[in-house]
């Protein structure tokens, strides 16, 4: 009996210690675990997976550090999935102290994507450069022989300057690639700038070139003009190749994803965005005018957003459902903490939610669907042992209580 009395009055710090052990020990080993994916998560996955490339999804950061371990793996997994499917992402949030978490997840996902496609991208840029060089070399030869034929020493020198501009341009593109490996938006700006610079200089040189020979020989001018037109075509082709390569292999801020930042007044924003996002988000989080973000060109309200995912630890998902969902027909997915998930099941059954990720388990199921083991999958063994500990505690507590009860009854 003494033992049972001791058991019911155990120092709670012993329970605390057991909890630490239950979580810590499985964390130190990697345990492979098979996942069965529940229907709500599968639905969420399908909703995103079935979107057409180029569709816009909106991710709302409605959690903060208090639920980081649950919601962060979700936003990481869904961003990763969206980038793989070539979806474009708008990030915003209703909880200021959580917004940076979403920002980090998004930028990290973009950086990882770019990192894993770096080789292909570099290859594509190199190929485009070589292509251009091959063409320009041919033209240079042709021009040289034409100049020799028409006895035009003077213009050859100018033509050589033009050529040096081309190689200069190529070099600038290369060095920008080295310099801005992480910040693809700046990188793209630098490349664009180099291109514009080149076009300006080249145009100036061409004018000079034509001015120098006009009086002398119309036949030669014709050749020069034709060459210049060809030149332009190839430079444009090169620039297009660069753009295509970037589209294909890079995730760039302002083109593939934007971060609109935080605005207060949850419901007011949700309703207002049904008309025009810009009324609330005039600038993005880094003071860039939203109108100048290329990606936002054709995005104005919920009509232009394929799916909205709210990562939440409070009532935000319900606000999205009641206002964006009901009033504007926005498709909504919830990525929520375990505490919130039971609240949302009625919406799942009514079809107001297209899918639901609940807690660490939900996140780990999504990770298994995109076949990328992340923080959630790594935490699941510890989650399991801790659950078993809590179940054991409940059962031991209850059984001790039964024994005490019987003992008391016998005493009286």
């Amino acid at each position: 009996m003494k033992f049972i009395k001791w058991l019911t009055n155990i120092d709670r710090r012993i329970i605390f210690l057991l909890m630490i052990v239950a979580v810590l020990v499985p964390m130190l080993f990697t345990i492979p675990i098979p996942f069965e994916v529940g229907e709500p998560v599968q639905n969420a996955f399908n909703a995103i997976d079935s979107l057409k490339p180029g569709s816009v999804i909106m991710l709302s950061v409605d959690y903060d550090a208090t639920s980081y371990p649950e919601c962060q793996p979700m936003i990481v997994a869904i961003t990763d999935h969206a980038f793989r499917k070539d979806l474009r992402i708008i990030l915003l949030g209703h909880i200021p102290t959580g917004l940076p978490l979403g920002q980090e997840a998004l930028e990290r996902a973009a950086a990882e994507y770019n990192q894993s496609h770096k080789a292909e991208y570099k290859q594509a840029v190199k190929r485009a450069g070589e292509e251009l060089k091959r063409h320009t070399a041919g033209y240079q030869e042709a021009l040289k022989s034409a100049a020799a034929e028409f006895d035009q020493e003077y213009t050859i020198r100018h033509q050589e300057t033009l050529d040096s501009l081309v190689s200069d341009y190529l070099e600038k593109v290369d060095s920008a690639a080295v310099k801005f490996q992480k910040h693809t938006f700046e990188y793209w700006e630098a490349v664009k700038y180099a291109g514009e610079e080149f076009n300006r200089h080249a145009a100036g040189h061409r004018k000079l070139l034509e001015g120098g020979v006009r009086e002398k020989d119309p036949g030669y001018v014709r050749i020069l003009k034709r060459a210049a037109a060809e030149y332009d075509k190839h430079i444009t082709g090169y620039q297009n190749d660069l753009g295509r390569a970037a589209d294909q292999y890079l995730k760039r801020y302002g083109i593939d994803f934007v971060n609109l930042g935080y605005r207060p007044g949850v419901v007011a924003i949700i309703v207002g965005m049904g008309r025009e996002i810009r009324d609330f988000y005039h600038k993005d989080y880094q003071n860039i005018n939203v109108d100048s973000l290329h990606m936002m060109d054709d995005v104005h309200n919920y009509d232009d957003i394929a799916t909205l995912v709210s990562f939440a630890h409070g009532t935000a998902v319900e606000s999205w459902i009641a206002y964006a969902g009901a009033r504007f027909g926005q498709q909504i997915i919830g990525g929520v903490t375990g505490v919130v998930a039971p609240d949302l099941y009625p919406y799942l059954q009514s079809g107001q939610l297209a899918g639901l990720l609940g807690g660490l388990k939900g996140a780990s199921e999504y990770e298994s669907l995109i076949k990328k083991k992340g923080l959630a999958s790594r935490g699941m063994p510890a989650q399991s042992t801790a659950h078993i500990l809590v179940i054991l505690l409940i059962v031991i507590g209850s059984m001790a209580e039964f024994a005490l009860d019987l003992y008391k009854r016998r005493g009286t």
Binding site: P40, D64, I269, P342, M380, I394
Partner: protein, 263 residues
């Protein structure tokens, strides 16, 4: 001015929004949009509301050298230090939230990542310990309702396991059997027999078909969540929503006015 005007403002704003919902044409639509933008802006100002009393409270404690003045100093240093970090980052990068690159972050972001996140996160992590302790102390299968609650909780927890389904289910079987025996001994034969039988058969089934148990556990959990849980939750939700609607109408009509008297 002090009481009537706010009531009039509330009434007009509320009625206007409801009217716009039904007649979203111009000029209502764009006017409502402007109101919503203003509401958002006002929301920004409310973020600043508590700050004065916080500074006053801790400033006073510090100035008078009251007991625990050191902690007030910590709060104020944290406050002004973070403000400084925010302003410096803002000036330097044009935004306080600069994540200059993934391993070299702006000052404000640094404070966020390494001070704010661990503090906030760990405070909530403490709840894991308290809930474990509460489970041990307060959760008792005393009555029918309590047993139901307990069994539902344990089934849900088992359904979210990624390993250890068999031992956890066996523990549940032991609990049911023990509860049944307890009821039998205190002369509640029917309930006791049912519980004990349920416990023994659950245990036997799990031992006999372990693979099926592992497969079924998540499905049982999902069913519990999506049928009985959803039903009760929806009942509560419908009630709460009716309450919200009634409250909103009372606010618009000026019957409910606690928000005015709180100032």
């Amino acid at each position: 001015m002090k009481r009537t005007l706010p009531l009039v403002i509330t009434f007009l704003a509320g009625v206007f929004v409801v009217v716009t919902f039904f007649i979203p044409r111009e000029p209502f639509g764009s006017l409502e949009q402007r109101m919503l933008v203003w509401a958002s802006i006002l929301g920004g100002f409310t973020l600043l509301l508590g700050i004065d009393s916080l500074i006053k409270h801790h400033g006073r404690k510090l100035a008078r050298g009251e007991k625990d003045w050191f902690y007030s100093l910590v709060t104020l240093v944290g406050l002004f230090g973070t403000l400084a970090a925010g302003i410096v980052t803002w000036v330097k990068y044009g935004t306080p939230l600069e994540l200059a690159s993934l391993d070299k972050v702006g000052g404000f972001f640094w404070v966020y990542k390494w001070i704010m996140v661990p503090l906030q996160g760990t405070m909530f992590a403490l709840l894991a310990f308290f809930i474990a302790s509460a489970a041990y102390r307060a959760f008792r299968a005393r009555t029918f309702d309590a047993t139901l609650l307990l069994v539902a909780a344990i089934l849900v927890m088992i359904g979210r396991l990624s390993m250890g389904v068999i031992p956890a289910t066996l523990v549940l079987a032991v609990l049911l059997t023990a509860a049944g025996i307890h009821r039998l001994l205190i002369r509640k034969p029917v309930f006791g027999a049912v519980l004990a039988a349920a416990g023994v058969s659950l245990g036997a089934l799990v031992l006999a078909f372990p693979q099926d148990a592992i497969r079924l556990a998540p499905q049982v959990q999902e069913w519990l969540m999506s049928v009985p849980q959803t039903a009760a939750r929806r009942g509560i939700l419908i009630g709460v929503t009716l309450g919200t609607i009634a409250m909103s109408i009372r606010i618009i009509l000026g019957i409910e006015r606690t928000y005015i008297s709180s100032t």
